[in-house]
């Protein structure tokens, strides 16, 4: 039960309370660039959610099995070259950033090729956005949050498992989609408004983003209330 409450709160937290775009400012570039039409925004959101889930899975697996101190695969490989006690202490965390960005870049490439070959219709709706996603901060940001909950924890029992990591990644993408679709809806109506010349384009988008961020601040504190209502441990 506690586990389900945790999962639920991670999902609500990633999608609404600490929205990736409006609270952490990651993925701002597509938020400003691609949010002109609702259908394009939905395509971009779908592509990001898809890639972010894959990247979460890969980053959790690699961190737990290879990168963190005492990870099983590293210990096994290092065991061939050095005594067992030294092999158990091999720590590859310093390589995490390089490994993550490499994993993201290559998985985006593979996803693009796979989708183009086997799902031409899907490719038509969001394929063009895929190459842009490599440099989308939201993906790397999700990987880094997962890493901080796997490597950085003091109590090993609190380290995140695969389930929590996937939920964070997927709902982070959902939050991104929610923000960018709301923005696109507002901007479609904005075309009919008389905006001062200097504020056209990015400036007015940012100001609207600020008002949206204020609205999303209304979710602050919802998580502790939900936890109390669902009867989980505080």
């Amino acid at each position: 039960m506690d586990y389900l409450v945790d999962i639920f709160l991670i999902a609500v937290g990633a999608a609404l309370i600490n929205n990736f775009v409006l609270y952490y400012f990651v993925g701002i570039c597509p938020f400003i660039g691609v949010s002109r039409r609702v259908d394009m925004a939905l395509g971009m959101g779908g592509a990001v959610t898809f890639v972010i889930s894959i990247a979460s899975f890969l980053s959790w697996t690699l961190t737990t099995l290879v990168l963190m101190p005492g990870a099983p695969v590293t210990r096994w490989v290092a065991g061939f070259f050095m005594p067992a006690d030294i092999a158990a202490a091999v720590d590859l965390t310093i390589l995490t950033y390089i490994v993550y960005i490499f994993v993201i870049a290559s998985s985006v490439q593979f996803v693009e090729m796979y989708v183009r070959k086997f799902y031409p219709l899907l490719y038509k709706s969001f394929g063009v956005f895929l190459p842009l996603i490599t440099t989308n901060c939201a993906i790397l940001f999700a990987c880094l949050i997962i890493m901080s909950h796997v490597v950085g924890v003091d109590n090993p029992a609190e380290a995140w498992g695969l389930g929590k990591s996937l939920v964070l990644g997927f709902f982070g993408g959902v939050g991104f989609t929610i923000a960018i679709v709301i923005m696109a809806g507002i901007r479609e109506d904005l075309d009919l408004c008389d905006i001062p010349e200097a504020f056209k384009g990015a400036a007015i988008t940012l100001i609207i983003g600020g008002i949206l961020a204020m609205a999303f601040m209304g979710f602050t504190g919802v998580d502790s209330g939900l936890r109390a209502a669902l009867g989980g441990a505080p």
Binding site: I98, E197, I207
Partner: protein, 208 residues
Amino acid sequence: MSNGPTPTERFIQGILPENPVYRQLLGLCATLAVTNGLKPALTMSVAVGFVLLSANVIVSLIRNLLKPHLRIVVFTLTIAAFVTIVDRFLAAYMYQMSKALGPYIPLIIVNCIIICRCEVCASRQSVLTAAADALGQTIGFGLALVSIAVVRELLGTGTLAGLPVMPAGWPSWVIMVLPPGAFLTFGLLLGLVNWIDAVRSSKRRRKG
């Protein structure tokens, strides 16, 4: 040998005419996230500057070996290596700052400014030009960050770099140091920059 803008031109262009934040709208994650105070903004500018300079120099040195379809991967891996250095350095010598900046230091890897400069300048021009370009862009980025951070910190807490500036009894506009303040401040400043620019260019047109 190499054509295109000279080192001096590149340097000056980066500061205002091609300011990475106000003109090219690049690196916005960092711009919005770390400008709730002057100190984190300056630290971020120095960190980005170091990575940008190192990456530009390395990419410029290996520009003749780069294969077109692999170049983005090479850029990102080079940047990731230097970001790791910055991250470890901050964690060792400025622990509090490293905690405060949190994930935004590793996120320099996907900062579009650096990839853009590698692509536009460093992969085509000599080391000297690439270094001058990196310095100019860094100063431009730093100026933009500082301009936003000053407004936000002054209005949000009445201090500058932690020192009280506003008269006692200043009602802190807490919203300015929270996420919405970042969007509002940057949006308004961007509009202001566009407006000044439009006024200046219309004056020039009237003269000419």
